[in-house]
């Protein structure tokens, strides 16, 4: 067994790796392609960064292709993303034209690879039209929706579904997100990689240097939210919760750590709103991190007392799982995939308001034993449910089922 598989076996267990080897055996040498719209920033890129090498290690010839576009394309796909999360966004025909043309242009480059592939996963709406642009495809094509599409804005979903309906299957993080489609919709939550820079064990020296780098006081409690500067992540709500906690625990510090994804044009605007809301409070640390600051985020999660993900909408908050893996109780927004990730009162708390978040932050800070016990349960829950070995097992199972259906 390779070093990589051995490393996964040490963390996830022998059975987890053994299942992957059994499922991948009939796929050895097969061409498997993932397509998304950004190589850095955001959860999808993070998942693929580690899943693609693991798939290759298992003998599946796996590649990761990224479609590129101009500003109008990203404006369109950001609007589409917001609309799928429920915002009543009307996308102009000009932007939709940019979306279609960008996909057509990318298809010119990608067509030979995609039409030759045995298995294709198209991630999210950005590259969804590629299937219709590859008429001579021979493999199984599956659309993966990472977004909380539980209540999509109908005109936008209707537009997108014309591209999605012809896939062999699709998969969503939760049953609430599944839509009416003429094919089978599988439910596969995403995952984290325990061996990545974001989640690996760190030395105390690395953690210590992070306190110094960001001028954090290690003698005082720290609450953290790691996420893009996006309104759906509710950074303003986190600041409100912090201000409420500050009234009774004046020594509290808040770290908001985020970066931009290359396919998110709204980030700067939201960042400005966040800075305005923080004002001159020197205990609020607003960090704009580069997309490759994985070890920094890892250290921030480890040095924090409490981690928040107070999203108002969330497909699946990878940062929730990352923090739980580090033995932290997480206070998360009572929405979307976070409900699946956090077991309320066992591995963290689900909250609906800044007041709710403030209550739970105070409750935990005043009860360190409870915080420790919750963190311990959180880590084990992630080990059993949200590591990428489980994720890949389910993806390979899905394609195995599709292959078997073709044969029968």
């Amino acid at each position: 067994m390779s070093d990589l598989l051995n490393a996964y076996q040490r963390v996830a267990g022998k059975d987890a790796v053994d299942h992957l080897q059994q499922l991948s055996a009939p796929m050895k040498g097969a061409k498997f392609v993932h397509v998304n719209s950004t190589r850095v920033g955001g959860g999808v890129a993070e998942i693929l960064m580690k899943m693609v090498p693991l798939m290759n290690e298992l003998g599946i010839d796996t590649s990761w292709e990224v479609i590129t576009g101009e500003d109008k394309f990203y404006q369109c796909t950001k609007s589409m993303h917001n609309a799928l999360q429920g915002d009543p966004v009307n996308i102009t025909s000009d932007l939709l034209k940019a979306y279609e043309e960008t996909n057509a242009k990318n298809a010119e480059t990608l067509r030979p690879i995609l039409e030759d592939a045995d298995y294709v996963i198209i991630h999210d709406p950005q590259p969804a039209p590629l299937l219709s642009l590859c008429p001579n495809r021979k493999g199984k094509w599956v659309w993966r929706c990472h977004i909380d599409a539980s209540k999509p804005y109908p005109p936008v979903w209707n537009y997108l579904s014309q591209y999605v309906k012809d896939y062999d299957a699709s998969f969503f993080s939760l049953a609430d997100f599944a839509q009416q489609l003429p094919h089978t919709q599988y439910l596969i939550p995403p995952s984290i990689d325990p061996l990545s820079e974001k989640n690996m064990e760190l030395s105390q020296a690395e953690i210590d240097s992070t306190y110094e780098e960001f001028n954090l006081d290690r003698t005082r409690p720290i609450m953290l939210q790691v996420s893009r500067y996006d309104r759906f992540k509710d950074p303003i709500g986190v600041i409100q919760a912090y201000k409420l906690v500050k009234q009774s625990i004046p020594e509290i510090q808040l770290v908001l750590a985020g970066g931009g994804a290359t396919d998110d044009p709204e980030g700067e605007e939201v960042l400005k709103e966040v800075r305005d809301s923080a004002g001159n409070d020197t205990d609020i640390h607003i960090l704009l991190l580069p997309p490759d600051a994985h070890k920094t985020i890892n250290a921030l999660q480890r040095l924090s007392d409490i981690v928040l993900q107070k999203s108002l909408k969330e497909g699946f908050g990878l940062t929730v799982t990352e923090a739980m893996w580090k033995g932290k109780p997480v206070i998360g927004g009572n929405t979307g995939g976070i409900r699946l990730q956090i077991t309320n009162h066992h591995t963290g708390f689900l909250v609906d308001t800044p007041e709710g978040a403030a209550l739970r932050i105070q409750e935990l800070l005043q009860n360190p034993d409870k915080m420790k016990e919750m963190g311990k349960q959180a880590k084990e829950y992630v080990r059993e449910n949200f590591l990428n070995t489980r994720h890949l097992r389910e993806i390979l199972s899905l394609f195995t089922i599709l292959d078997n259906q073709s044969k029968s």
Partner: protein, 220 residues
């Protein structure tokens, strides 16, 4: 006790995992649940009774099916949760199970005089699943070996052999019968074991105890 038949094929212990599939069928209130139960695919009804056993979690252990857990967590109706939880799927065929579920839900609808509703995002989502089966390294040649191995088996193996495959090639009782008539008593005890009210850990312990008691008696 040793094998009387050396021609018996070794038994390969399997493991399994479930892959969930959205049906698109949802209920946001009790009346909606009743309506959907009338037509939802039978596999989905069975899923909500059994798949919970393979899902690690911290849900209230006294409610051992998804319908009961939903009634408790989302409708906040303890009486309904208790009644739903008492329904043992092993004592009904699928049509009977459907009828029983509807009967319990309708009783609650009558008693409440109003339809219990959930908050947004707390709908009952009907799911079904595919079971994916794996080989394991464990190949057993006789019941004694199985007795020794049981405590070390993965939850998926317990689920597959003692719940999912009772009527298929993964059924251990059928294999045991090949060892001679005296094993029919052991096979019979395993067949009578009702797994519904046990967690997989408890089920493993029960099965282990049955094996221990039988083999001890047989060796005396």
């Amino acid at each position: 006790m040793t094998s009387k038949n050396e021609n018996i094929q070794p038994f390969n212990i399997k493991d399994c995992a479930i892959l969930n599939i959205a049906t698109g069928v949802r209920a946001k209130n009790l009346k909606g649940l009743r309506d959907k139960l009338l037509t939802v695919h039978p596999e989905s009804i069975l899923y909500h009774f059994w798949a919970k056993k393979l899902r690690p979690g911290f849900e209230e252990p006294e409610y051992n099916n998804d319908f009961a857990t939903w009634a408790y967590n989302n409708l906040h109706d303890i009486k309904l949760a208790e009644r739903l939880s008492l329904i043992n799927p092993g004592t009904f065929d699928i049509q009977g199970l459907r009828v029983k579920l509807i009967e319990v839900v309708e009783l609650s609808l009558e008693e409440n005089n109003s339809d219990l509703k959930t908050k947004e995002g707390e709908q009952f989502q009907f799911i079904r699943s595919e079971v994916v089966v794996f080989n394991t390294q464990h190949m057993i040649s006789n019941p004694e070996e199985l007795k020794e191995l049981l405590p070390a088996l993965a939850p998926g193996s317990i689920y597959f052999h003692f719940i999912d495959s009772k009527n298929s090639s993964g059924d251990i009782s059928s294999w045991l019968l090949q060892f001679g008539d005296e094993y029919s008593k052991l096979a019979d005890q395993l067949s009578k074991l009702d797994p519904y009210f046990f967690t997989l850990t408890e089920l493993e312990r029960k099965v282990s105890q049955i094996f221990k008691d039988f083999l001890k008696g047989a060796n005396q």
